[in-house]
C-alpha cells in the first residue's frame, strides 16, 4: 500500500461524523463496547482492557452545521463543546456506552455535567488528573482515581478488567506511542517526506481505530513513506503550539505548509503521545500508569508546572530536538488554557531568540487567506534572518 491509499483511508474516517468504523467494530462481536473521550488525556489502556474501543471525540470539525449546540453556549465560548453537543443531539453518538471528560479546562469540565443532564442513559464521568506530581501525594491520589475509573468502566461495560488484560493493553499502547514518536522524529528529520496534514489524518484515524489496527497502519505508512520520493522544498521549520484541544480545520493545517512552513512538531491529538516513555509492564500496573503520567508526560497548558524555571522547558527542548527555527502559536478562540499560557511561553521563546507568531482559529474557520499570509510572511522572515 502506498501512502496515498493509507491517507485516503484515514481521510474517509476523519470525514465520517457518523463514526462508522467504530460502529462496525462494536457490532462485529457481542460484548464489545465503545467509550468516548474528549481531549486531552485519558488512560486508553483501561478502556481497551475492558474490551471497549476508546473513541476520541474532537468536536464536529468544519463540515457540520451546529443548530442545537449553539443554543447552549454564549458567543464567547469556544466551538468544540457546541459541535460535540450537536453530535450528541443528532444521534451520532448513540452507540457510545460511556463518555469521559478529562481535565482540560472549565468548559469541558462543565460539559461533563451537561452530558449527565442531557443524556441520562449514558454513563458520563469527569476524569481529574493530579496537578501535584509528588508520587506520595498526587501519585497516591491518582492511583485511587484510576482504580475508581477502572471500576466505573467495568460497571458501564459489564466487562471485567484483569491485570492480564491491562498488561496486554499497555503493551499495545506502548507500541502505539513508540510508533507515533518515531513518526514524529522522522518528520522532524525529513518533513518533506512526511507532510503534516498526512500525519494529522493518521493521528485522527487512531482515535477511531482499534489500537492494533492503528499500529499496523503506522508501520505501513512509515514503510511506504520511506519508499516514496517527495521533493524537498526550501521551507522554514516551525513548531506549532496551542492546538491540543479544539482542532483546526484540515485546510488550516494544509495552509501553513503551503505557505512555506515545515511543521516539525505540533500538539495536535496529543493523547496518543501524552506519555513520553513506556509504561512498565511489571508490578502494580495502575501505579505504573500513574507514575509514568507524573514523571514522563508532555508539558501542556492544562498541566501545572510546579517550578517557575521549568515553565516552557518542554517546548524549548522540542524546538531544539526538532531543529525548529520558529514557533507558531495557534490557539482556538476563547481557549483559556492556550491563551493564558501563551504570554509565558512566548516570553521563553523570545528570551531564547526564537521568532514566533500567533493567531487564533476555530474548528470551523473558513478564511485561510490571513493564515496563509501570516505563515508565509513568517516563513520568509525566518529565511531572511538565518
Amino acid at each position: 500500500m502506498g501512502t496515498q491509499e493509507i491517507v485516503a483511508k484515514c481521510q474517509a474516517i476523519f470525514d465520517d461524523l457518523n463514526f462508522t468504523v467504530a460502529r462496525e467494530w462494536k457490532a462485529a462481536k457481542p460484548g464489545r463496547k465503545v467509550i468516548g473521550f474528549m481531549p486531552v488525556y485519558v488512560p486508553m489502556e483501561l478502556i481497551h482492557a475492558a474490551n471497549a474501543l476508546p473513541l476520541g471525540i474532537m468536536g464536529g470539525g468544519d463540515s457540520m452545521e451546529v443548530i442545537h449546540g449553539d443554543a447552549y453556549y454564549q458567543s464567547y465560548i469556544c466551538r468544540i463543546p457546541r459541535s460535540t453537543i450537536e453530535l450528541g443531539v443528532t444521534g451520532r453518538l448513540d452507540f457510545v456506552d460511556m463518555m469521559l471528560f478529562p481535565f482540560v479546562c472549565d468548559v469541558i469540565r462543565n460539559l461533563s455535567g451537561i452530558w449527565k443532564m442531557m443524556f441520562p442513559n449514558v454513563v458520563s464521568r469527569f476524569f481529574d488528573t493530579p496537578q501535584n506530581f509528588d508520587e506520595k501525594i498526587g501519585g497516591t491520589y491518582y492511583e485511587h482515581e484510576l482504580l475508581e475509573l477502572k471500576e466505573a468502566i467495568e460497571q458501564a461495560t459489564g466487562n471485567k478488567i484483569t491485570d492480564e488484560s491491562i498488561r496486554n493493553s499497555i503493551k499495545l499502547y506502548n507500541e502505539n506511542r513508540k510508533l507515533i514518536w518515531s513518526l514524529y522524529d522522522l518528520r522532524a528529520k525529513e518533513p518533506w517526506k512526511f507532510p503534516t496534514w498526512e500525519l494529522y489524518l493518521l493521528m485522527r484515524a487512531g482515535l477511531q481505530l482499534p489500537v492494533d489496527e492503528h499500529n499496523q497502519m503506522l508501520k505501513d505508512y512509515i514503510a511506504a513513506a520511506h519508499a516514496e520520493d517527495k521533493p524537498r522544498r526550501d521551507n522554514s521549520r516551525i513548531v506549532l503550539n496551542g492546538s491540543f484541544c479544539e482542532q483546526p480545520p484540515l485546510n488550516l493545517i494544509k495552509s501553513i505548509e503551503m505557505a512555506g512552513c515545515y511543521v516539525v512538531d505540533d500538539d495536535y491529538v496529543l493523547i496518543n503521545r501524552f506519555l513520553t516513555e513506556d509504561v512498565p509492564l511489571e508490578g502494580d500496573l495502575l501505579k505504573n500508569l500513574s507514575t509514568t503520567y507524573l514523571k514522563h508526560s508532555v508539558e501542556t497548558s492544562c498541566k501545572y508546572v510546579p517550578k517557575e524555571e521549568d515553565k516552557g522547558k518542554y517546548l524549548l527542548n522540542r524546538i531544539s530536538q526538532c531543529q525548529a527555527e520558529g514557533v507558531i502559536f495557534a490557539a482556538p478562540s476563547f481557549c483559556d488554557p492556550a491563551l493564558l499560557d501563551r504570554p509565558m511561553l512566548s516570553h521563553r521563546v523570545s528570551e531564547n531568540n526564537i521568532p514566533s507568531i500567533s493567531f487564533k482559529y476555530a474548528e470551523n474557520s473558513g478564511q485561510m487567506q490571513p493564515i496563509r499570509e501570516q505563515a508565509g510572511t513568517f516563513a520568509d522572515s525566518i529565511k531572511l534572518w538565518s
Binding site: 465560548i77 472549565d106 469540565r109 498526587g138 483559556d336 493564558l340 501563551r342
Partner: protein, 429 residues
C-alpha cells in the same frame, strides 16, 4: 464615583470599610512591620491557616473588584492586552497584571509590596492555575499549590479529601513555616476555626432572612457586602464575629419594621419581583446595575455568587475538631467546584425555598467556570420549577462589556413578562 451621589450606608458597611482599609494598610506597610504577605484566591481561601503564621492575606480578585468599582480596571485591562494578553481571557487576571504594570497601587494609594508567597488554592476555576503561574513569573516568589479535585459526580470522596489534607500537611504548612519562620500550631488553628464557625452561623442567618416578605436584604447586590468578611481576610477573626453581630441587629430591625433592603438610594420600598440570580455581578457598573433592579421593584432573594467562597447555607461549617479535613471539605464544597447537576439542584431549591418568581442568569464573559453550561442550567431550572428564566451578559471588570441599554432592555422585558404572566393567571382564574 465622585460624580455619583453619596450612597446611603449602614453601620455594618462602615465597619467593613474600616476593616478592609486596615487590612490594606497592614499589607502596604509590611516592610515596616516585618509581616509576610500571602496572595491567594477567594474560593478555597485558607485564611485561618494563613493567620496561624501571622501572615497577611491579599486577594487579587478583591483587588480587581476594587479596581473595577473605582473605574480603573478598564485601563489596567488594556495595559495587559498591550502586553500580549488575549482579549478572550479573564479580566480579573488582566486587571491584576495591568495594575502591576502601572505601579501596583493599592486602594489606600500606597504601592502593594510584592507577596512573600503565592498560595495557589486551585479550587473550582482553571484560570487560577494560570493566573498564579503568570504572577509567579513576575514576582519570582515561592508558590505553593493546593489542587482541589472537582466534584465531577456531585459528591466528594475520601480520596479527594486525603489528597488535599496531604497537600496541606506536606507542602503548604512546611512552606508557610519556612516563609514565616513560625512553627505551625494546630491548637491556634482550632481556636481560629471556632470563631469562623460562629461568624458562619451568623452569615447563614443573614442570607436566609431573604425568606421574609418583604425581604430585608438583597441577596445579590447586598450580599456582596455581607459575605465580604468571611470570603476574604477576616474569616477566623474576632472582627468578623463582631461585624455579623452588628449586621444581624440591623437586619432584625428591618424585619421587625417590615422594611426592605437598603440600596445606595435608601430603603427599597416596593418589592414586586423576587428573583434568584446565578453568576457573579458586574463590578464596573455595579450601582447602575443594581438600580435597574430596585427601580423596577425587583429584589434578589438568593444567589449562587454569595456561595463562591463557601456553601455555608448547605450546612458546612469549619470544624475545630478536624481542622485540616474541614479545610479540605471547605475547598471541595465551594460553589464552582460543584458539578452542573448539583448547581441546578441548588438553584431549584432556592426558587422553591425563597418563593422566587424566577431565575436570572448574569452570564460573565470572563468566567467559564460559572458560565459554560448556564443556558442548559437555566432551561433545566425552568423545567423543574415552571418559573421563567432570563439571561443577560456582562463581564466582571471589563467596562467594554457592559452595555447598559442592552441589559436594561432584557431586565425590563423579563420583569414585565413575570408581571404579565401573573395577571394572565389571575384573569384566567
Amino acid at each position: 464615583m465622585s460624580a455619583e451621589k453619596e450612597a446611603v450606608k449602614d453601620e455594618s458597611m462602615l465597619l467593613q470599610k474600616a476593616m478592609i482599609s486596615r487590612n490594606y494598610d497592614a499589607i502596604t506597610s509590611k516592610h515596616e512591620t516585618g509581616r509576610k504577605v500571602v496572595s491567594t484566591f477567594v474560593p478555597g481561601n485558607l485564611n485561618e491557616l494563613v493567620m496561624c503564621f501571622d501572615m497577611l492575606n491579599n486577594l487579587p480578585e478583591i483587588n480587581a473588584i476594587q479596581a473595577g468599582m473605582r473605574k480603573l480596571s478598564g485601563g489596567y485591562i488594556m495595559e495587559a492586552e498591550k502586553g500580549g494578553h488575549s482579549e478572550d481571557v479573564c479580566t480579573y487576571v488582566k486587571a491584576d497584571i495591568g495594575q502591576m504594570a502601572r505601579g501596583n497601587i493599592a486602594p489606600n494609594g500606597k504601592p502593594f509590596p510584592d507577596p512573600d508567597i503565592l498560595l495557589l488554592s486551585y479550587t473550582g476555576c482553571y484560570t487560577f492555575m494560570k493566573w498564579f503561574e503568570l504572577l509567579r513569573e513576575q514576582y519570582k516568589c515561592p508558590t505553593v499549590m493546593v489542587h482541589v479535585p472537582y466534584q465531577g459526580d456531585g459528591h466528594t470522596t475520601q480520596n479527594m479529601r486525603d489528597y488535599i489534607v496531604k497537600q496541606l500537611k506536606e507542602e503548604v504548612i512546611p512552606t508557610f513555616e519556612r516563609i514565616s519562620g513560625k512553627k505551625f500550631d494546630i491548637d491556634l488553628l482550632r481556636e481560629l476555626m471556632t470563631r469562623s464557625a460562629k461568624a458562619e452561623d451568623d452569615l447563614v442567618w443573614v442570607i436566609e432572612t431573604a425568606k421574609h416578605k418583604p425581604s430585608p436584604i438583597d441577596a445579590y447586590f447586598g450580599a456582596v457586602y455581607y459575605v465580604g468578611p468571611i470570603f476574604s481576610a477576616f474569616r477566623g477573626t474576632q472582627e468578623a464575629v463582631d461585624y455579623y453581630k452588628v449586621l444581624k441587629k440591623e437586619i432584625q430591625y428591618r424585619i421587625d419594621n417590615k422594611m426592605g433592603p437598603i440600596t445606595p438610594e435608601g430603603e427599597m420600598k416596593e418589592q414586586k419581583y423576587r428573583i434568584v440570580v446565578e453568576g457573579p455581578p458586574n463590578w464596573t457598573n455595579y450601582r447602575e446595575f443594581w438600580k435597574m433592579f430596585y427601580d423596577e421593584g425587583a429584589v434578589v432573594v438568593a444567589s449562587s455568587y454569595s456561595k463562591v467562597g463557601g456553601t455555608y447555607d448547605m450546612g458546612f461549617r469549619h470544624d475545630p475538631k478536624n481542622p485540616l479535613e474541614s479545610l479540605a471539605d471547605y475547598c471541595l464544597g465551594c460553589y464552582t467546584n460543584r458539578n452542573l447537576p448539583t448547581r441546578v439542584d441548588i438553584l431549584e431549591k432556592y426558587i422553591n425555598d425563597y418563593e422566587a418568581d424566577g431565575l436570572l442568569t448574569n452570564s460573565i464573559k470572563s468566567c467559564n467556570s460559572f458560565s459554560a453550561g448556564q443556558l442548559m442550567m437555566m432551561r433545566e431550572v425552568e423545567k423543574r420549577t415552571g418559573k421563567p428564566g432570563a439571561f443577560i451578559e456582562t463581564d466582571l471588570v471589563d467596562p467594554r462589556y457592559f452595555s447598559a441599554a442592552n441589559v436594561k432592555n432584557r431586565l425590563e422585558s423579563y420583569f414585565q413578562m413575570i408581571e404579565q404572566k401573573r395577571r394572565g393567571v389571575k384573569s384566567a382564574a
